[in-house]
Symmetry: C2
Subunit: 431 residues, 2 copies
Amino acid sequence: MSEPVRVGVVGLGTVGSGVVRLLVQSADHITRQAGRPIVVERAVCRDVGRDRGLPLPADRVSADIRTVSRDPSISVAALLVGGLEPARSMMIDLLEHGKDVVTANKALLAEHGPELFEIARRHGRSIAFEAAVAGGIPIVAAIGECLAANRIESIRGILNGTSNFILSTMEEEGADYADVLHLAQAKGFAEADPSMDVDGTDATQKLAILAHLAFGVWVPWGEIPRTGIEGVDADLMASAAELGYRIRLVAIASRSEGRLAMRVAPALVKIGTPLAETRGAFNAVSIVGDAVGRMFFHGLGAGQMPTASAVVADIIDTVVGRTAITFRTTGVLDPDSPAARIAGADMVQKHFLRVRVDDRPGVLSRITGILGEHGISIASVIQRDPAAADGVPLVIMTHACSTNAVAGAVAHIDASDVVSGATVCLGVLDD
Amino acid sequence: MSEPVRVGVVGLGTVGSGVVRLLVQSADHITRQAGRPIVVERAVCRDVGRDRGLPLPADRVSADIRTVSRDPSISVAALLVGGLEPARSMMIDLLEHGKDVVTANKALLAEHGPELFEIARRHGRSIAFEAAVAGGIPIVAAIGECLAANRIESIRGILNGTSNFILSTMEEEGADYADVLHLAQAKGFAEADPSMDVDGTDATQKLAILAHLAFGVWVPWGEIPRTGIEGVDADLMASAAELGYRIRLVAIASRSEGRLAMRVAPALVKIGTPLAETRGAFNAVSIVGDAVGRMFFHGLGAGQMPTASAVVADIIDTVVGRTAITFRTTGVLDPDSPAARIAGADMVQKHFLRVRVDDRPGVLSRITGILGEHGISIASVIQRDPAAADGVPLVIMTHACSTNAVAGAVAHIDASDVVSGATVCLGVLDD
């Protein structure tokens, strides 16, 4: 048996505590997988005095990152602190002092990825980040290694468990957004401040990372068009269901004719397709490769042990040397990779519109006329019971058309004198 | 740019031709992934004269394996010949002459895996076999690498596309087994002799390989209890549907209290769960790990390009050095891994029974009495219209109970004087 590998765990929140537990509880199994024991040599956290019930002697826990970065016996550090600072400074400190780093911090990579990966390369170190996207689902390895023979055509993902829990619970219980958000907070599926989850930020940062792996271009996450789930209401879900769809927050990146289109937004997904069957806090990713066709992955995208599972798999990969190879060969976040401007959110697909119209003659003809002027043809129309106080909801499903064309038509409709509220427009995914 | 890696492709059938096409068509992309060009230096096939329309000069194709194994410029060989011989001799020849081997031949690995892996180790070579199980789905990497931090609790898979095509088409079209088998043969989803697909052999060989990766024990595939799909009829499917289930050929390996239970058999899978939503020639695998929870993978399990995608990914992994590490560290098919006797097919689960009974008083009480004597409690009973000529079908769903106990009760029932045909007993999977 070889010498143990000594690891530093930076951050003892939910995920960090899970990593310490998993490394200790499954030590025998992990030793077999890595070919040598992996031991937690030191941990770093803000509140050193707090008893977390972890199998870590008190003198191994410190608030100072340097106890890990300056310890020459430590070769790998798991950076499990959220947010941008001090996470960024900590990672740089670790890399500059010769540690390979494993992290679950997607915001950090989405914001500072190119800089951090460049620093890692300069110091001959690696950064592994399977846990940063879709938790326990090995989607980073799938795209970066397993589907390496494929040119990826598209990625669609449910990448945020909190918003998926809210949407699927609203649908199943016929409940309102605000009520379900409170339930999610009570159950621990949503944080006290859930804004990064429900406004699509978290999913967008993950999409930026996946798109880099899949398409080899680095798109700053802030440039990806993004709509959150705050505007989804029970009435919208009922209309979708009537047409055979559910509503999910879907992150999409797709390439056609050399153009890359990306967006994160609520979308209608057809009942019976895998994304529509993704419920609760689960994550799912559907990828189309030119050789492999459509692949689908589903699993727990967050939570203590699923995320710890991905972090420890990355630690094992780093210890045995696979990470160093992948990091070198796939040029992940290589500073030379083109920083792409995306082609915008324009995609050709079916669209779902809910228009609040006044209940008077000629309105339907007016709306459909505007759509026609913008070259949009209509697949079906549902005009529901005009009970709503805020105008009659008119639900329209278009044939496949450009998102930009629909956006133009919606602006035109909303500027007309027959609507009594803003039109909701969602993309529709049939497969 | 480094020197190209020269590859030999042995076998130019469907998969071999796909591999040559993919390596040529996607050469630029694959060069980026591997860090150097990968070129097909030579190919071997039986019928050298046949024009396959491949981008390979005629003088590079031979019927003699030695043109690859003795060519010192070739470092990696893709062995894409089916069956046991000459595939086994070819692989040994390649390994003994210093080639790393990539293969899609699951029968060869299931039958001779330990011997071949030992020869590879002795010669310092590796064998990669992602394509041998579930085609394009990266399940070998998922279990061997991505879920390395987990103790795997169970694997359930739809691992044979032909039988899944037959079952899902029978269900969707209400058609008979024989008719759909002919359709599958006409469409190219089933071979002229489909026996290895429909009798469960193919799925069982794949399960033996997956179970080795997941549980570290080598179970000879012939010892795994196996039932094919030949006995599934439209009436059985209708009864299953009435209870909210579909029928799929499911390969299961599960561990509890240190015992490993394995089997391949048609099973009832609940409508709405991922295995039930796996249709046509698709494959699917559901894995439960102690940390990650339940993961689900879905994709094309066979076909030219999906399989070629997995083969080329393995070639890339071999070229960059990841395969050598995985082969060394995870001890795949290590001769020292315990050759396990499985605990049998005994699993505690719900069971579905269809009993053909005579239409006379007291029969239901007699059958349920026998079940009671064997300690089996009943969840529901459906007695359908006694129109069938071969006795009245009585459909029973049990509560969770041991498969062995149910088998005992079924033997008892079939030996009684109230039945008019053999009882069908299938396991039931609710999640």
